[in-house]
């Protein structure tokens, strides 16, 4: 071996290279907090990751190249097409899935380490291994449930045991996992018990996320993301790997801040979200108001076309329903036409429209909607009383006045777009079903509201034709 070869494979030298790698993570993260530099920041972080992986592969003692290459190849073969082909609308569940496999990897690594070394790991390595196993397993299963809910494989509504049974179950599972971990850490070697720790944490992961309503899912994913970061940091201590400690903890810390910011944007508290049950109160409220005296006005495409063409100000309120119907391009075409007729058109963007904070901006950007037409909630809300027509496309919960007016509502206190203050409101909707949060919307029954039922894309196309014909 040449001198450089020996030098390169020297683990002390490679520890210094780890410092370079995690510096890239920190710089990348800093750049990601500004829209101008965010994309480059992501690339800087990716370069840091490439350095960290190459560094590890060069280490003295790395063997079983066949298996390593197999694992890397499978991961790449699955990861690249998944990331390339996912639709922008499905981004949140993809993030949940990627987060889940990270947590799963941590749990599996801890398990294999314990199976091989057992209690000869010594408490310095054993305790973080146990911690990583528990958190990693919770994160893996929790993320899978979050994915299932967003993908609508599992109902988005809260699924939970009645009364306080759920809390009792969760507390018992956590206690069981921790007690077994303490028994192992205090010197009892039991492979079976380690396996049961993973199982208890797995059930706990399911039990925590199942009761959480779909609308809170972004916050949950962010929380699980922070969890996976923590578990990676713990695994880093277990394996004496400085890059894992720093990167894992960076994610653990920044992820918890991010979770908190997101929860604040929705006016929710994290303990309340984890306690669950959001979105369960819809039926009770509808019943309390008395459904019989509430009528809904249905309208037609030509009527909407007339209203829009003769308006001077139109505000479009896009929601997830629009994105799902892939109607953003049709909407863009309609707005161009209206603008040509001298109508002032703007888009009102709720911070959590779509499935995640900032998701709607991404979806509209994909359809080439100009930035200067996008208005943030705080800018547009005072202007609604001067708006002639507010066109609500598949946005349910973020326009629900119950959040402002009905203290019993589960979404009470959540900031909303005040579309009900516009002169006229047109709601494009498939049916009278409740939104993602499962809460009835009083907006639909207001006198100045009319509903255009049907597929959002087809409806918009009809309206566009009618506007052209006018």
């Amino acid at each position: 071996m040449t001198v450089t070869g020996i030098f390169l494979r020297d683990n002390t030298f490679l520890d210094y290279v780890y410092i370079v790698a995690f510096s890239f993570f920190i710089v990348g993260l800093m750049m990601m907090t500004s829209p101008r530099t965010a994309r480059r920041g992501n690339m800087v972080a990716a370069v840091g990751m490439a350095i960290a992986i190459a560094d590890t592969l060069l280490r003295h003692g790395i063997n079983k190249w066949g298996l390593i290459i197999l694992g890397l190849a499978i991961g790449t073969a699955v990861g690249i097409p998944a990331a390339r082909n996912v639709k922008m609308t499905a981004m949140p569940q993809m993030v949940a899935l990627f987060n889940g496999v990270g947590g799963g990897a941590v749990a599996l690594i801890s398990w294999a380490e314990y199976r091989h070394f057992g209690n000869s790991l010594g408490s310095k390595h054993l305790i973080p291994t146990l911690f990583a196993a528990i958190i990693g397993s919770i994160s893996f299963w929790g993320s899978n449930i979050a994915f299932g809910k967003l993908q609508e494989l599992i109902p988005g509504r809260p699924i939970m045991l009645p009364g306080r049974l759920q809390t009792v179950l969760n507390a018992s599972l956590l206690t069981a996992a921790v007690v077994m971990a303490v028994i192992i850490a205090s010197g009892t070697h039991s492979g079976l018990m380690f396996f049961f720790i993973l199982v208890a944490a797995a059930i706990l992961g399911n039990a925590i996320v199942l009761p959480i309503g779909g609308a809170d899912m972004p916050v949950v994913i962010s929380l699980l993301n922070a969890f996976t970061g923590l578990s990676a940091a713990a695994a880093g201590i277990a394996l004496d790997n400085i890059a894992m400690i720093v990167a894992g903890m960076l994610v653990g810390a920044s992820g918890s801040i991010l979770t908190n910011l997101m929860a604040e944007a929705m006016n929710r508290s994290i303990p309340a979200i984890v306690a669950g049950g959001f979105g369960g109160g819809g039926a009770a409220i509808a019943a309390a108001e008395g459904a019989e005296d509430r009528t809904v006005r249905s309208t037609t495409a030509d009527d909407v076309a007339i209203q829009l063409s003769y308006a001077s100000r139109v505000v479009i309120v896009p929601g997830y329903g629009m994105a799902v119907a892939q109607a953003q391009h049709a909407v863009r075409e309609l707005t161009k036409l209206l603008e040509a007729n001298g109508v002032d058109v703007a888009y009102a963007i709720h911070p959590v429209a779509g499935r995640m904070p900032g998701h709607m901006n991404v979806l509209l950007a994909e359809a080439d909607v100009p930035y200067d037409q996008l208005r943030e909630m705080d800018d547009i809300n005072p202007q609604f009383p001067q708006v002639d027509v507010a066109l609500v496309i598949g946005a349910n919960d973020v326009t629900n006045p119950a959040a402002r007016d009905v203290p019993d509502s589960p979404i009470y206190g959540m900031p909303i777009l005040d579309v009900d203050k516009a002169h006229n409101v047109i709601v494009l909707k498939r049916s009278m079903n409740t939104g993602f949060a499962g809460i009835d919307n009083p907006l639909f029954y207001k006198e100045n509201t009319s509903m255009l039922f049907g597929d959002a894309k087809e409806s918009i196309q009809h309206v566009t034709e009618e506007v052209k014909a006018l």
């Binding site: 500004s34 694992g71 991961g75 790449t76 990331a83 949140p92 496999v101 091989h116 400085i242």
Partner: protein
């Protein structure tokens, strides 16, 4: 490395994480979440180290899965984040389309 050194690093990294993220615009929450998600794919390193230490086919199997999971997390995470952030690029004004600016023959 001693435990106290590792915990010191852990605590310092936590503070850096807090400091970096403390104020970011709402629009960037999702891409940032996805970006940090990709960074914890660092667990991949753990898989590489562990598989070189253990013996037995079942341990090997578990760790090949772990390495594959870690790789999905890293590769998928960075790619998906890049796709999202691509949407945030400044759009050219309608007059200044960049179609003509792209010299032909260059791939």
């Amino acid at each position: 490395m001693s435990l106290v050194t590792e915990i010191a690093i852990l605590v310092l990294a936590a503070f850096v994480g807090f400091a970096v993220i403390s104020k970011i615009p709402n629009t960037l929450h999702t891409p940032l979440m996805s970006g940090t998600n990709a960074i914890h794919g660092i667990v991949l390193l753990g898989g590489l180290i562990a598989i070189s230490e253990v013996s037995g086919w079942f341990n090997d199997l578990i760790l090949v899965i772990a390495i594959a999971f870690g790789t999905i997390n890293v590769v998928g995470g960075f790619l998906v984040t890049d796709r999202m952030l691509e949407m945030f690029k400044k759009r050219p004004t309608p007059q200044a389309q960049d179609d003509g600016a792209e010299p032909e023959g260059e791939s």
